[in-house]
């Protein structure tokens, strides 16, 4: 049963009234129910691209903030990759001092509106939360991410954001390669230190995965544009349509164009395929391609976009991560009658954020678990008309600690699909490595860096985000961008 934002707000108002003026004990706080995230009705939202989660109301955010015990050991902070002082900003939120709460978050995180939306909180800050632990359910932890999102949105909408101050010009020049989360955070911290920063982006729009990968219904592009505008206002130059490694090599940037240091945050931009039979038939797409068509090229707006997107009726999405959920939900919105996530393990092992899996289910996405693709079949015109799947069972845990799927012999069956979207991850893009002598990478093509400074094998060249980590998360990339910027600022001071 879908609850409206108004109904949820009324419930929160009641909670606030009950607790007004009371001295709340831990027991009282724990008894306050988790505030649900208001969302668009699933029946409606599968016909549009607007954001699904609507954000807490003011009453809701204050009610949720009251659930925080302000415990002494603050386990949530150690669960946050960038170490936000979570209890402090939640305390300010409970008091209704949203501007102050936002300022506390901004001390550690540059992109709270984005992270509040896309971080996997249930495996980070909310995992060790004392409230969740006492209720023996991580879903009952304080909804830190939802509070973060409210506070960040409030500050943006009310022009109460702290604009980062820029130190006097140092005369040093830094190139930032890639304008995704790693690049954005590195650029901001480097600029704050007074360096001249030029950010290079290959595509015609900046933002990296935030723009081409994550759909509008999960992260509105106006928010990304706002964050990029803040960078420009600080004096960071953003050069689009510039592919480092092709337009200019990394060495040319340093030796000819006078950059004193370079941060590479070029991402994990090479889609992986399964290498099964039929993967190059018409109707098989990488999730990158499918999502880029829809998000960056706006193919979902069929009346205006000049980029076509495949007409699908029965879509199979291979994979169980956030990208798989994004692709499946996009396909549904583009009109596919049936969309099925095909995953070889069970829901418990799915790497996707819990909220995304929940939203996908509400939207009628099918989940075919414990099934692995063997081959893709097509008609005489080479157009996909089926997928051969085999049933699996879970065996012993593998290197990742997740139980390994074991195929059950003889259980193969062909299922009827006309489109396949492969969402099983990305390898690192080889362009920069291939054109930069002396740059060391591991066997997956990820840059090898000093763990403390994130400096690569070339002096003055630093790297962070997916190009180092392999496919990871926005917040980890952001954390690495900041870490590298800190080391770069120290390095630049010695020049």
């Amino acid at each position: 049963m879908h609850e409206t934002r108004e109904a949820l707000d009324a419930q929160a108002q009641e909670i606030l009234k009950e607790n007004e003026g009371r001295e709340l004990k831990a027991k009282d706080r724990i008894q306050i129910p988790v505030q649900s995230m208001p969302s668009q009705d699933p029946v409606v939202r599968i016909t549009n691209m607007h954001e699904v989660a609507l954000g807490y109301t003011e009453a809701q955010v204050r009610a949720e903030a009251l659930r925080c015990l302000q415990c002494k050991n603050k386990p949530c902070i150690s669960g946050c990759p960038v170490g936000i002082d979570i209890p402090a900003f939640i305390a300010k939120t409970a008091e209704g001092k949203f501007a102050e709460a936002a300022a506390i978050i901004k001390e550690s995180s540059l992109l709270p509106s984005i992270c509040g939306r896309v971080c996997p909180q249930e495996s980070q800050c909310q995992l060790p939360c004392t409230v969740g632990k006492s209720l023996k359910d991580v879903d009952c932890s304080v909804s830190i991410g939802r509070i973060e999102r409210f506070v960040a949105d409030w500050a943006r909408e009310n022009n109460q954001e702290v604009i980062p101050t820029v130190a006097p010009e140092t005369g040093k020049r830094v190139a930032v390669v890639g304008s995704g989360p790693a690049g954005i955070s590195a650029a901001a911290d480097l600029r704050r230190a007074g360096h001249q920063v030029v950010m290079f982006e290959a595509l015609h729009k900046a933002g990296g995965v935030l723009v081409y990968g994550i759909p509008e219904f999960r992260l509105p592009k106006t928010i990304v544009e706002h964050e990029l505008k803040t960078l420009s206002d600080m004096g960071v130059e953003i050069r689009r349509n510039f592919l480092v490694g092709k337009t200019r090599t990394l060495k040319e940037l340093m030796e000819k164009d006078g950059f004193d240091a370079v941060f590479v945050g070029s991402g994990a931009g090479l889609p992986r395929f399964l290498n099964i039979e039929g993967e190059n038939y018409v109707g098989v797409f990488s999730a990158n391609e499918y999502l880029t068509r829809s998000n960056l090229m706006k193919a979902y707006d069929r009346d205006h976009s000049r980029t076509p997107i495949y007409n699908s009726h029965r879509v199979a999405v291979f994979g169980g991560g956030n990208v798989a959920m994004d692709a499946a939900r996009t396909a549904k919105r583009l009109g596919a009658e049936e969309v099925t996530i095909v995953y070889r393990r069970t829901e418990a092992e799915m790497p996707a954020r819990k909220e995304e899996v929940g939203h996908a289910k509400e939207e009628g996405i099918n989940f075919l678990l414990l099934h692995a693709p063997l081959a893709i079949v097509a008609d005489e015109k080479g157009r996909v008309n089926g997928v051969k799947l085999i049933t699996c069972e879970l065996g012993e845990p593998d290197a990742s600690g997740r139980r390994r799927p074991v195929e059950i012999p003889g259980s193969e069956k062909i299922y009827d699909f006309d489109t396949v979207i492969v969402a099983i991850g990305n390898d690192s893009n080889p362009l920069i490595h291939a054109t930069t002598e002396g740059l060391e990478v591991n066997k997956w093509g990820n840059f090898i860096v000093n763990e403390e400074t994130l400096e690569t094998s070339i002096k003055g060249v630093y790297a962070g985000g997916d190009i180092v980590l392999g496919a990871a998360t926005v917040i980890l990339a952001m954390g690495q961008g900041r870490k590298a910027a800190k080391a770069m600022n120290e390095y630049l001071a010695t020049l």
Partner: protein, 282 residues
């Protein structure tokens, strides 16, 4: 940025534009391409091979055929206008070296990207024979430019309206029979390249082809351009666009190129109406 310096109509639907792009001009090598996007949220990204460049003028030259909605709109731009987004150079350059006797074959609009390769092959000290072909006389381009740099030029048209009435494979086969050819480069419609590769395979002549598969970003990110070469999946944008023609799975390439045919046909028709251009006249 990206200002159009000159524009010329070469044939019924083919245009030549010189565009200010100093960085691309400096970095580009024969065989590479650019991707352009005409601005705003809704325009598509179109890959086009670089036909020429001048470091002194800081410009690149594109030769394109108005075949879809976007290339028609590109054709409507005039000198002084600029192209909002231009990315390049992309792809791996042609493997130019001293082979000995080289035959370069261009079909239709494929003659344009062939030009810098012929130039490069000449500079590398090769004896270069050029074969250019088109459906009909009006669609033939760069004949004089090619004649100026090639050791020999053979012109063919499908309908015999100009030059010899033949497909490009006919003079090619005769050359293979009569002399020792060391390398063949072919750029044109996939079907033409397929048959060129089939012809040269009999004589075991190294054959380079340039594949025009469907692309979005051009940097390896989307995988839409994947082609099968020697049984393995390759991305035309970063591993190519040039491959060994004898190892390309042509049937798969042709299938994949047809992915959006239904929507494209509709769009082509619509843009002729919307832009008030008569069919066949760009």
């Amino acid at each position: 940025m990206n200002t159009i310096l000159s524009k010329e109509q070469l044939s019924a639907e083919v245009f030549r534009m010189e565009i200010e792009a100093p960085e691309i001009a400096q970095a580009r090598k024969p065989g590479q391409f650019i991707i352009l996007q005409m601005g705003g949220d809704f325009d598509e990204r179109i890959p086009l091979t670089i036909a020429d460049a001048s470091v002194e003028r800081g410009s690149i030259t594109l030769i394109f055929q108005a075949v879809g909605e976007s290339t028609h709109r590109l054709a409507l731009l005039e000198v002084g206008d600029s192209i909002a987004n231009l990315l390049g150079p992309l792809g791996t350059p042609t493997d130019i070296r001293h082979y000995g006797k080289v035959v370069c074959i261009g079909g239709g609009i494929g003659v344009a990207p062939l030009y810098p390769i012929v130039e490069g092959m000449k500079k590398a000290g090769n004896d270069v024979t050029v074969i250019i072909g088109a459906r009909t006389k009006d669609l033939l381009i760069l004949e004089e430019d090619m004649r100026a740099i090639a050791d020999r030029l053979i012109v063919v048209t499908d309908d015999g309206s100009y030059g010899r009435k033949a497909l490009v494979t006919e003079p090619l086969k005769e050359l293979c029979e009569s002399e020792k050819i060391d390398c063949v480069v072919a750029i044109g419609p996939p079907v033409m390249m397929k048959f060129v590769a089939r012809t040269t395979a009999e004589y075991n002549i190294h054959t380079i082809v340039s594949l025009n598969s469907i692309m979005i970003d051009g940097t390896g990110m989307c995988g839409g351009c994947r082609v099968i070469v020697d049984g393995k999946t390759k991305f035309a944008c970063v591993h190519g666009p040039e491959f060994d023609g004898h190892l390309v799975d042509w049937d798969n390439l042709l299938l994949r190129l047809s992915t959006y045919h239904d929507t494209e046909d509709e769009a082509h028709h619509r843009c002729h109406i919307g832009l008030h251009i008569k069919e066949g006249e760009a």
